[in-house]
Structure formats: structure tokens, C-alpha cells
Symmetry: C2
Subunit: 282 residues, 2 copies
């Protein structure tokens, strides 16, 4: 077990908002993550709700902008927000410095193509290493984990939950990329990290995973109708069709006038926390 | 009336979070401010609650970090957050680039010393120009205004409310500088902006204003006990003594373990909004 180095800790709604740094075996780099520990953790392990952030984000965005700690403190949920990619010396970035690949754009998968495959191993990092680290170092209940995310991180929440159904009991998403195989962000990322063979991409596409037999017990998705990425990148109708064909109970709420920002997430995050808590409580 | 130029607008808790830019007569510079317009404004003017931010901040910090829109949308309060200083071409800054004077550190007063007196006119800007602009351009009720702030902005809320009792009906603060005349941040700012005559400083020191006869109907202050600036810069005991001597009803809550961050503000902002709304509703 690698040691957790405290970066900061602040009292928040009767709990504590932590940021930690540690040396990751999965990525071969130092990694940071945020963890809100609710007051109920003083009495024993609490359920853990993961939040995976979108392109350009770090562990900070959700932590300072979503206002989720208030409800987490009420419900007794730990909130864990990882970074979105490896960073630091020797970690390659998009050759053009684009925001949608490389640093800040790890897509929550293990890359197989050089030079990305050395450090870009965010699936192993989140699902295995960080999950074990949190369970060992913090008052987390390892059998009660849920996952949610935004945009690229909504794709991450969906695909990680579909690929690791024993790990995550509940899943939800804000404005997720529904099918990275069928949008510019996803085509760039999957071809870069996984190579040109589109068959390999199906394992990291929520709709393809469902078509190929993966299942979720239920799914909550919020999507703003004024989201500038709605039609070209996010395409919730593809997820709707895949869930309908597979019989997955999807609650897709089209929120009139909301955009892609954390103001949208903040407006509906309480509903998501209550959704997860209802499943994770038992 | 100078024109408001929209910078951004996002749906948030059923209302709209705006950022505007405009050319200020008071500061002689372009200025930005944030305004949350709650859903109740569709039916007519709503009360306005001002938030003055602390050192290094802009209009953005409170807007993205405090999570206040949720309660403002429930209570029907407009939230207006100005910037903390003039900025831009020709605006002088601290010669050493320090964070506690110049840019981001306007202290909500009109400077009288050159070169600061040309642009550093934040009292006139907030109390007169921006107040009139908001009342003219947004669905704001000009007779129902409250003010709150954090740290340097807590000082601002206290001194502006004490100096303009007809403007602000309600006032509260998070970790305010209680007496700038008696702390390093304040001594530097007041001597820089107002010159060496300490008699002139009394008009911008909450405790001295109260000693000299200014009054507030009531005051709510939250202060974290783990705030690193508590003893050297903030000194709430001075405000406590001044209010006690003057018979001002002060509710000073020492919040155990909380620091100076927006995690502290977020934890208690709901109480402040309800406090203001109770006064501003009638």
C-alpha cells in the first residue's frame, strides 16, 4: 500500500474535505484525489460515491463547484473525486496541446498504444488501485460503492459500472458521452489510446457494452437541453435506445435550458446523491 | 446608464447565473460582476443580497464555490457579487506584487492617495454606481438590499452597511476583518489608500465607526476557530466588544474546526441567506 500524503483538509458541513497525493503503481506517476468524509464516518465505514470529472478537469472541479458535500453530510456518503489523467514528468500529451486528448483527458481506460500505454491506465487506477487505497486508508465500506460522472466522466461512470458490475452497485451520469465510438471526442480518444481496430473500442463504449450483453440494474442520467455538446458529442438518444433494447431501466431527464457547466451539475446533484444513497444504504 | 455586456449566462436551480461586464464611471475601468437572478424574478422585482469577496478574489469565487444559488432560488433572493478591485490597463498594483494591496485588494473604499485615488473607488462603485445599474437593468427591488462578505469583503459589508444605513437593511459576514486599523492587512491598505493620518482611517474601520456612533439593527457573523488569520488579522473579539458597548445585537458564532476557505462559507451560507431574507421580505 502506497502512503497517502495529505495536501489539504478543511472542515465542511460537519465532515472533512480532504485532498491527498500518492504515488500510483497503475499510472507510474504521483496522483491526487479529493475525498469528502462525512460526519457519520466517525461511527464506522460509510458508502463511497465516486465522481469522475470531464475533459480539462482535475480532482478539484467537482469538489469546489458542485456543492455535493451538504447532501453527502446528510446522507452519510463519502465522495471521492480522482484526477482525469496521469500528469507530470514523462507523461505524454496531445502533440497539438488539444484539450480533448492526453493530459486532463484520460477517458478512464487503460491505453494499449504507445506512448500512451505506459502511464494512461486510468481504469486500473480508479477501479483497482484507488479503490483499494481508499478502502484501506479511509472509513469506506468496500462493498457499498456507487459511481457517477460528467461528460467524459459520465462515459467513465457508465463504462466502469458496465465492466465492473461487482464493484459498483449504483451508477448515474450528468451529460455523459453516450457512445464514444460515434462522436469526435471519443473517436479521437479511442483511436489514440486503443489503436485503429474499432472492435477493441466496443469494450469502452457504453452503448456497445450494453449491446454486447453488459447490464446495469438501473441508471439515472440528467442532460441539459442547452448543452452545446448535446448533438455532436453526447447523443443521449443512443443510450436511450441501447437501454430500451436491453431492458435497462433508464431515467433520462432532459433539463430545459441547462448547459454543460457545473451550475447544471450543482442544480441536480442532490437528486443523484439521494438516488445512490437509496441503493447503497442496504 | 452604461450598458451591460453579457459575459455568460447559465441556468442554475431554476434561475439564471449571469456574469456581466460594463464600463464603470466610478473606477474608470471595465468591471465585471456576477448576478444570480432567482426564478421568482419572473413575477416582479426581488430583494438583492450583495456578497463582497476577500483578498485575491474576483466576482467568480463566491459564484462558483459557495453553493448559495440553491437557497437563493428557494427564497427569491438576487445575489450580486462584484469584483474586488479595478483591473486593466493603467490600474496601479502593489509595487511588490503582494496579494494584500492593489489588484484584488480594493478594500471597498474610495482611495484618497495618489496613484490609487484615480481608479480605486470601490465604495462609490458598489454603493452607488453598481447598485443603480443593477436596479435599472435587473429585476431588483432597490429598497430591499442586504449585504454580506468574507474576510476583506466582510470588512466591506460591515463598513458599507455602517456608512450607508439607508442602503442596506441587513448585514452579515464570514470571518470579517473586524478592525483594519488594528491588523497588518488593514494598516497596509488604509495607509496606502488613505495616507498616514489615522483619523481618516476611522471612517473605514467597523469598530471605529461603531465607537463614533454608527449603528446596525443586527449583525450575524460566522468565524471558524481553525482560521489561520483569526488572531493576527480578523480579531472578532474587537467587533464583539464594540457591538456590546454600542448595544448592537451581534450573533457571533465561533464554528469549531472551520478554516478561512469557501468550504467554511458553503457550510453556513444557507443560514446567512435565511437571516437576510427574513429582514428583506417585508
Amino acid at each position: 500500500m502506497d502512503a497517502l500524503e495529505p495536501v489539504s483538509a478543511a472542515r465542511c458541513f460537519g465532515g472533512t474535505q480532504h485532498v491527498f497525493r500518492h504515488q500510483s503503481r497503475a499510472t507510474g506517476t504521483p496522483m491526487r484525489f479529493a475525498a469528502f468524509v462525512p460526519p457519520q464516518a466517525a461511527a464506522g465505514p460509510v458508502p463511497v460515491l465516486w465522481f469522475l470529472a470531464g475533459l480539462t478537469c482535475t480532482e478539484e472541479n467537482f469538489t469546489v463547484k458542485a456543492g455535493a458535500q451538504r447532501v453527502a453530510a446528510e446522507l452519510g456518503l463519502m465522495l471521492v473525486a480522482p484526477d482525469t489523467s496521469p500528469r507530470g514528468e514523462g507523461v505524454p500529451d496531445d502533440p497539438d496541446g488539444a484539450y480533448d486528448f492526453g493530459l486532463g483527458a484520460g477517458f478512464y481506460l487503460d491505453a494499449t498504444e504507445a506512448p500512451w500505454s505506459t502511464h494512461y491506465r486510468m481504469e486500473s487506477y480508479v477501479v483497482e488501485e484507488l479503490s483499494e487505497l481508499v478502502a484501506a486508508a479511509l472509513p469506506a465500506h468496500p462493498a457499498r460503492q456507487g459511481i457517477m460522472g460528467h461528460s467524459m466522466g459520465g462515459h467513465g461512470a457508465l463504462t466502469l459500472a458496465l465492466r465492473h458490475p461487482d464493484r459498483y452497485r449504483s451508477v448515474s451520469a450528468f451529460a455523459p458521452i453516450a457512445s464514444p465510438m460515434r462522436c469526435p471526442w471519443g473517436e479521437k480518444a479511442l483511436s489514440g489510446y486503443l489503436g485503429p481496430d474499432r472492435a477493441a473500442w466496443r469494450g469502452h463504449d457504453a452503448c456497445a457494452l450494453i449491446e454486447d450483453g453488459a447490464r446495469l440494474p438501473a441508471l439515472l442520467v440528467d442532460q441539459g437541453t442547452a448543452d452545446g455538446f448535446l448533438e455532436t458529442q453526447l447523443r443521449p438518444e443512443l443510450l436511450e435506445a441501447a437501454c430500451a433494447a436491453a431492458g435497462i431501466p433508464l431515467t433520462l431527464r432532459r433539463q430545459a435550458g441547462y448547459d454543460h457547466s457545473y451550475f447544471f451539475i450543482a442544480s441536480f446533484v442532490e437528486d443523484h446523491l439521494r438516488w445512490h444513497a437509496a441503493t447503497l444504504a442496504t
